[in-house]
């Protein structure tokens, strides 16, 4: 009978690999998700029939599956497109939590002196799973704006985090070498939860996608470790696949932002001062703003307009209004393009998804490298709810948290229309000199309302 299970797990593993392969090309991405889901169904279907259930076991599995399926489906279906990143963080966190609990339950079975091959992966799974759970919850809270998105730092933070890590290693050795009693591995779990929080709070909201990707890879490894504890082939293979591909993806993401992973994770330390002085320097400077009519005329008589969409456009659901404006301009013979920063929105690829939803022709979507040289020939750069991705501080201010991030050269356009809800700094929590530039005109308001006003103004011009 175990032959059937093993074969089913093999099929599931193949489907996961094929699914990942399909997911990494645009053509097959959606099928890839189905392929992986089919693998999951097969792995579950092969596991369940051969188990010996206790009465209580059957009941809790039924209850857990029903609650989880309802929460998962409703959460994933109801969430707005803009809130998807934090939803991924949440789903990742609960997976890490589950991996840690599975390891705890296994350790309880083995008694005080479990064999090394069991206790080592269990300890690993408890620590990494708990870090992933707590870290993901903080990432969720930051993106959902339940807490501040700016880095939280305090003096001696690195020392505190170092001590936490050392305490975890100490407890881990105690569990492995001395005694696997509930007190020691529950303490281990608690410390790992604290470390998860401590690890993520100093990282700025704008870097959360990279952190979520890293924690995703961590959960994969925790699942693989739980697989070693349970001697379960499916968990080992699937968890490791996610751990490896997730690590590579994390690197690709930080590359897309032009940063090293170390800079993303530990960059906030020691930058409290710089950010504070920069904010103080911005006080009392004035900006220009203009009426919709003036801006409509400017746009209508331009030859080339580049729209720079950002998170503000996503929040206001303004992608349709943006396309309408582009259509009106194109009918007047204006060239319109969209400049998509790799991390526009809050996740790589986020903006492409939103604009595709609004039927923006794909040829108009230009990636950063394609479009950056065009800005100097553009009459207007129309920045809709973006901020950090056009902040010249990334080029010019070495102390800035976003220094070194590749940005869109919107500042080189002949005119810059900066559409924003308010003067609030962007997600990275720093001021943007571009707003105060001589070529820049601010146009305050909700992105959707503002764009609609511009559409009528262009029509009237």
């Amino acid at each position: 009978m175990t032959t059937i299970i093993t074969l089913a797990y093999l099929v599931a593993a193949v489907l996961f690999i094929l699914g990942l392969k399909q997911l990494s090309s645009p053509r097959g991405a959606r099928n890839g998700n189905f392929t992986a889901a089919l693998g999951m169904v097969i792995a579950l279907a092969a596991t369940i029939p051969l188990l010996h259930f206790t009465r209580a076991g059957l009941v809790i599995i039924a209850i857990g599956v029903v609650i989880g399926a309802v929460v998962g489906t409703v959460g994933a279906r109801m969430v707005r497109m803009t809130a998807i990143p934090q939803m991924v963080a949440l789903f990742n966190g609960v997976g890490g939590g589950a991996a840690a609990l599975v390891a705890v339950a296994e350790l309880l079975k083995f008694g005080v002196h479990p064999p090394f091959a069991e206790v080592f992966p269990s300890v690993f799974s408890i620590v990494i799973g708990s870090v992933s759970f707590a870290g993901s919850m903080v990432a969720f809270a930051k993106l959902q704006e339940l807490m501040t998105g700016t880095p939280i730092t305090y003096p001696g933070q690195q020392v505190v985090n170092g001590l936490l890590a050392a305490a975890i290693v100490g407890f881990a050795i105690a569990v492995i070498a001395i005694a696997a009693i509930p007190f020691s591995f529950l303490s281990l779990m608690l410390l790992a939860l604290i470390l998860g929080v401590a690890f993520v709070i100093p990282i700025g909201g704008a870097d959360m996608p990279v952190v979520i990707s890293l924690l995703n890879a961590c959960t994969g490894l925790a699942v693989a470790a739980s697989g070693f504890t349970l001697n379960n082939f499916a968990l080992i293979v699937a968890g490791t696949l996610v751990g490896a591909s997730g690590s590579l993806l994390t690197k690709l993401m930080s590359d897309a932002m032009g940063r090293s992973l170390a800079n993303v994770l530990f960059g906030a330390f020691g930058q409290v001062h710089t950010a504070a002085t920069a904010a103080a320097g911005a006080q009392g400077r004035s900006v220009r703003s203009a009426s919709a009519e003036d801006l409509g005329t400017l746009l209508a008589y331009s030859q080339r307009v580049i729209i720079v969409p950002g998170y503000g456009l996503a929040v206001a659901q303004a992608q349709h209004a943006a396309r309408e404006l582009a259509d009106v301009l194109e009918r007047r013979g204006v060239d319109v393009e969209y400049a998509i920063h790799p991390v526009a929105g809050r996740m790589p690829g986020h903006m492409n998804v939103l604009l595709a939803e609004a039927n923006v022709p794909y040829e108009q979507l230009k990636e950063m490298d394609q479009v950056n040289d065009d800005f100097k020939n553009a009459d207007v750069a129309l920045i809709v709810g973006a901020n950090d991705v056009v902040n010249p501080a990334a080029r010019s201010t070495p102390g800035s948290p976003i220094y070194g991030m590749p940005i869109l050269n919107a500042d080189q356009a002949k005119n810059i229309i900066f559409m924003k809800r308010s003067m609030r700094p962007g997600f990275a929590g720093i001021d943007n000199d571009l707003m105060f530039g001589p070529k820049t005109v601010m146009f305050f308001g909700d992105a959707k309302d503002s764009l609609t006003k511009l559409v009528s103004a262009v029509k009237a011009a």
């Binding site: 889901a37 792995a43 998962g72 699942v223 490791t240 897309a256 022709p361």
Partner: protein, 106 residues
């Protein structure tokens, strides 16, 4: 070292290489869906959660099993559904074709 452990280590090491290899050429626009998809796959921990919950017989194991199964199911179901929602947007449009045919625009 037992044979079983050796087998497991073999799978582990091979899976690392496959994991790296399989996504090495992913375009930027698919980073988010791919992360979400891998997130759903580590929901396989549901198999582990069911294994430990099946034999639950004491208050502690019942509570642990219930929480583990609930969390793991949320991971699997939410993960796949949210990934599908993202990928829906790419369906039947030009973006679904172009990057595959012309990966290097210049």
């Amino acid at each position: 070292m037992t044979n079983e452990l050796l087998n497991e280590l073999t799978f582990f090491v091979l899976a690392i290489f496959v994991g790296f290899e399989v996504i090495s050429k992913v375009p930027t626009i698919l980073h988010t869906p791919l992360m979400s998809g891998t997130n759903a796959i580590h929901g396989i921990i549901l198999v582990g959660a069911i294994l430990i919950a099946a034999g639950a017989d004491s208050p502690v194991t019942i509570v642990l099993g219930l929480i583990a199964v609930t969390l793991a199911t949320t991971n699997v179901v939410g993960g796949f559904v949210v990934t599908d929602r993202m990928l829906e947007m790419f369906k039947g449009r030009q973006p679904a074709k172009r990057p595959a045919e012309a990966p290097v625009p210049k």
